[in-house]
């Protein structure tokens, strides 16, 4: 079952930096769909469409539909705040908010109006366990989040999204600044999380794309070149451009 259906999506920024050209793509539920390709191909743009973070940028042209559970999220009448709670985002650089670990985790709930402390405590524990961080921080939840290591910060960012119990998790090169051990931990969490969530990952390398992908979409200059199951795409791609890219001939 496709959780997200992108139908003929075309998007241009006013600075022409990146674009999307007539993208149609179904993103299945409870799986990791990897969006990969060279820089400037439209990967991040697509992610930012999925939780309407693009509203903050200067989009000059957009047309097409993006359905999540058959609801068009590009509809201007849609409540973006609710959408962003349903579709969480983890960024390339671990950006912890300048507050304690606990406050980072409850931030999303608090702005949503949650006041029940026991609910928040439960969310903290659950999300930290899911992000494989609980054992490392359970005794120092009130420490400033900035005191954590880079790898821990990124897992905190993941936990912060999970605390909101979203349906979809978007990850934009979440391990690009991390050491291999931390990267492994994040990737491991994702394999576990896909059982509950729909995951869209922009990986930081073809290798990571191959490791993580249940499904993979190759983007080149705003165009969706190929979409297939990961096993198929990384061993026997259909398009010559995909083949050249995964073989490391360009990009």
């Amino acid at each position: 079952m496709n959780k997200i259906s992108i139908e003929n999506l075309t998007l241009h920024y006013s600075d022409d930096k990146e674009s999307l050209q007539n993208i149609s793509l179904g993103i299945p539920a409870n799986a990791i769909t990897v969006i990969f390709g060279p820089a400037g191909g439209g990967k991040s743009t697509l992610l930012r469409v999925l939780n309407r973070l693009n509203d903050l940028t200067d989009v000059s042209f957009m047309k097409g539909r993006v359905l999540i559970d058959n609801e068009d999220i590009l509809d201007p009448r849609l409540d973006v705040i609710t959408l962003r709670r349903r579709v969480g985002m983890v960024f390339a650089r671990p950006v912890v908010l300048p507050m304690s670990i606990r406050q980072n985790l409850t931030y999303g709930l608090e702005v949503a109006g949650e006041k029940d402390k026991s609910k928040m405590d439960a969310a903290i524990e659950r999300s930290l366990i899911q992000a494989a961080l609980w054992d490392e921080v359970r005794d120092r939840l009130n420490d400033p989040a900035a005191a954590l290591s880079g790898g821990q910060q990124q897992r905190l960012c993941l936990a912060r999204v999970l605390a909101l119990e979203p349906e979809v998790i978007l990850l934009d090169e979440p391990t690009s600044g991390l050491d291999p051990i931390s990267t492994g931990k994040v990737e491991e969490s994702l394999q576990e999380l896909k059982k509950t969530y729909t995951i869209v990952l922009v990986p930081h390398s073809v290798q990571q794309a191959a490791r993580a992908a249940d499904y993979a979409a190759f983007f080149l200059q705003g165009e969706l070149v190929e979409f297939a199951q990961g096993d198929k795409l990384f061993t026997n791609p259909t398009d010559k451009r995909t083949q050249d890219y995964v073989e490391g001939r360009f990009g």
Binding site: R84, G88, V95, P98, Y107, G108, V111, A112, V161
Partner: protein, 288 residues
Amino acid sequence: MTVTSTSQTRHTTQRLGFSLLTLMTLLTVVPIAVVVIYILFLGAPAISWEFVTGFPREGMRAGGIWPAIVGTLYLTLGTATFAVPLGIGAAIYLSEYAAENRWTRLIRIAIINLAGIPSVVYGLFGLGLFVLFMNFGTSILAGSLTLSIMTLPVIISTTEEALRAVPQAFRTVSISLGATQWQTIRRIVLPQALPGMLTGIILGLERAAGETAPILFTVAAFFLPRLPNSPLDATMALPYHLFVISTQVPGMPIKIQYGTALVLMVFVLSMNFIATTIRSRARARRQW
């Protein structure tokens, strides 16, 4: 050979450059130190409990400067009342809400230019608008409003700068977690920018406290040996008082002039000190 000689030349040039820069630094520091020491030296003998808390007597040639101190305090507070909310509001609008276009660029240029206008012009403007047209008379209200207009550009630009210094990523993350823009500003941006904003605000108010020209026409009383009763009352103020006793009253004892200058200087410098303390404390605590 050539290598050695070039490296020697470079050493010499470097030493020369350093010496020059040291000299220039001294040239700026020394006069300031001299001024401070000079005022301290000449003013200190005047300082006494009576001088600070007493009312002027004998045509201001004796007694204290209490009404002027209180006047300046009132004016500073009055200015803060108007300029701080307005300035912060404008800065938040410019930094967080306004789109980057010709209109906002125009506003910014206007603000920068406002900061460059001579203070006496503000005084004249205040006289025309607040004292006469709005009929507030020469009063603390008119003076505070005039000083507010003069201070606003400083407060707006420093506050805006403080807001912009908060990393954009914090805003994006907050929005991505489902916060509204206002929630983001209130919970993330303002707390982070607050120390920088306070510094800017205090520096702006400090300028207001020390100015003479804008209050000349709008509030200051030449001689009013009592405390003001209401915002519509005129009042004495330290800078204007200093101007008066230095130039308008013959036979003024030097020590009273310098004593007044010393009090004004301490007033302004302590505001400065508070601002610096806030800033360095915040820097040490900052997590980004």
